[in-house]
């Protein structure tokens, strides 16, 4: 659970900065930030499952 919380915090910080820096309008910033946040979480979880099945 601690790992997930840390990953969520990391995704949150990165999403805030990426969203603000990459887009101009507030609406686009929020949408892009949420997209980046979700992508970090989903890719992190998927990678976690893939690595779980690796024997080394």
């Amino acid at each position: 659970m601690r790992h997930f919380l840390v990953m969520t915090a990391f995704a949150g910080f990165a999403a805030i900065v990426f969203g603000i820096v990459a887009k101009d309008s507030k609406r686009d910033q929020v949408i892009y930030g949420l997209k980046v946040f979700a992508e970090f979480l989903v890719i992190g979880l998927v990678l976690g499952w893939i690595l779980y099945f690796l024997p080394f």
Binding site: V6, F10, G12, F13, I16, V17, F18, I20, V21, D24
Partner: protein
């Protein structure tokens, strides 16, 4: 005719030179103190969010037991040091005070040690982006 063209060129060059001077100051301010580059331009919301994200990332990294990197002759330490250096004074002050650079056994044994130094590097990298944003706003490339 040619004289006119030359004058307009000179005017353009002058206006292009005045904007970057301010932009450099804002960029350096944003690098030295995360959020300051936007704060000086009256961009309170951006300063709070960008600066807040960098500061929080850095403080959490330290609380999780992470250590900062410095170049000691090993090339492998150079990339993380460049990342750490992105936090400006947050890196320079501990460097002068000698705080946070030791990767002793007790710290390394913490379950959050790896997260810690990763957060410290990411804080620096995020601040590079924030610094460039402050630079672009001051240069008139962004609103």
């Amino acid at each position: 005719m040619l004289g006119r063209l030359d004058l307009s060129k000179a005017d353009n060059e002058e206006s292009e030179e005045t904007a970057p001077a301010k932009a450099w100051v804002m960029g350096i301010a944003g690098w030295l103190i995360p959020g300051m580059g936007h704060l000086l331009q009256g961009k309170w919301g951006r300063a709070l969010l960008l600066g807040g994200a960098v500061w929080a990332c850095f403080i959490l990294g330290f609380l999780m037991g992470g250590n900062l990197f410095q170049y000691d002759g090993s090339l492998l330490r150079l990339p993380p040091m460049i990342g750490n250096l992105g936090t400006g004074l947050l890196y320079i002050v501990p460097w002068f005070m000698g705080i946070g650079f030791s990767d002793d056994v007790q710290r390394a044994a913490l379950p959050t040690f790896e997260f810690g130094w990763t957060f410290l590097i990411v804080a620096g990298l995020l601040n590079y982006l924030s610094m460039l944003d402050a630079f672009d706003i001051a240069a008139g490339r962004k609103s």
